[in-house]
Symmetry: C2
């Protein structure tokens, strides 16, 4: 097994606004930049009430790259009317990404409790296919994020990298790729081969890091800072970089525990954990 | 898609002692039998302080079949000494199953936080292989239970039915098969084909039912009663029975919520849910 080298510099460090959720985006982008972070992924809730173009400019003026907009998706629904509404929201996200200057939208694909997963998977494929013309026109790409199987009930029927790769292959568009998040996929016995396959498809668009804590006390908001858990981060980055990936390593952590801490201290710990464990 | 028929009778209904955890095993077996349940799977904690042969006889005298003993496994460990201790505990479980009169032991295979999953998987295979002579001598079989990927950190490095099937194939012993629990595998896009493969390998030894609640509030003890969640139970039983499986349908529910209720009322609801949803 080849292992990735440490990351002494921060050139490829991106932090998600949700990671430091208590900070308004203006504060986050200023603090991130001062700390040496080079990229930011913007969650849509952080944009409420803002002028998107001006916010994008403000972020870039700090020297930060806008890596992606989180999130689109949630395509499956019981009725055609609701699915149309979901598509409209995704079209809005594409317009927002374009205005902000984000080249990529991360998709949490969606699921409906009790609706057969096979049906949700079909609706997801159809939903993404319907957005391709708008993506191309706007110059915005889409990244399918396979979500951990513990979210298959209500958040995503796409639960392995293999499924996301299959979907990319079926859609066959250079606008559609994968956002690989270690938290969701680290357990998968097929992970190494599916990362290689994703690379061969030129579909590895984004790479998200955090850690899996033992015990995990909450299904949504108990992710760990890198190094606090059991995910073999160096091994996974080695597999990712073996595909030629040299994009950002994005720190995306949902954690009630961390959100309750002083966010400046927390950012310093994120940076140290990035150097030590990613 | 073919759908299984309803289950108007209880001939194949088994309940795990852990499902009605507040009841001592003597109470559970009496109440199960009176309610028309035909099988019981015994958790080892329910046997504390009991004479095993006498307890087995008491259960059989109620007219109940002892379906399996839960649980062995937890093979991976950091040191050879700890792995030997784990094997010893599994040998004890085999002796307990023989004394009780249980033909099968369910294996939760184990994992060590931070130890590479590939290493844990190898230790699991080696551990099961080491037990085969004792299994054969005792007339006790082993059922590998693939556990949901949310338990890959510390409970099992075997997280899909495909992996369990691979392991059975590698071990190539009629003493080793699979305990399929809907809670752990319902999300898997390869489930239908892997159930069929498990059947072709004559390895489908047990079938456990419960449901997945939305939202799920706890990773361990928030399982749903059948019908309370989103698992397509009739579809899954159809796939299972298409292999020729006609063993027990075992109700295994970890639920702090249900354990806090009157257990007699709860047992009545289990039976109704079995008829309506399994």
């Amino acid at each position: 097994m080849s292992h990735a080298l440490p990351l002494p510099d921060l050139d490829r460090l991106c932090v998600h606004t949700i990671t430091t959720r208590p900070w308004p985006i203006e504060v986050a982008s200023e603090r991130f930049a001062k700390a040496g972070v080079k990229g930011i992924t913007v969650w849509r809730d952080a944009l409420t009430g803002r002028d998107l173009a001006r916010t994008g400019q403000l972020i870039r003026d700090q020297g930060l790259s806008i890596v992606s907009l989180c999130r689109g998706g949630f395509f499956p629904a019981r009725t055609a009317g609701e699915r149309t509404k979901a598509l409209d929201d995704n079209r809005l996200a594409i317009a927002e990404a374009q205005a902000l200057g984000a080249p990529l939208i991360v998709l949490v694909c969606g699921a409906v409790p009790g609706q057969p997963l096979a049906e949700s998977r079909k609706q997801i494929r159809d939903g993404i296919a319907a957005l391709l013309p708008e993506c191309r026109a706007a110059g915005v790409k889409l990244a399918i994020e396979p979500l951990h199987p513990m979210y298959a009930d209500s958040r995503s029927a796409i639960n392995t990298l293999g499924q996301a790769n299959d979907l990319c292959e079926a859609l066959a568009s250079d606008c559609v790729g994968v956002a690989l998040d270690v938290y969701h996929v680290w357990w998968d016995p097929a992970l190494e081969q599916e990362i290689a396959r994703c690379g061969r498809q030129n579909a590895l668009f984004a790479y998200h890091v955090s850690d899996w804590r033992t015990p995990t006390l909450d299904l949504l908001n108990d992710r760990g800072l890198m190094g606090e858990g059991c995910i073999p981060l160096r091994q996974l980055r080695a597999w990712v970089e073996a595909t030629g990936y040299r994009g950002f390593n994005e720190v995306e952590i949902f954690s009630s525990r961390c959100w309750a801490q002083d966010q400046s201290d927390y950012l310093a710990r994120i940076i140290q954990a990035y150097r030590d464990y990613v």
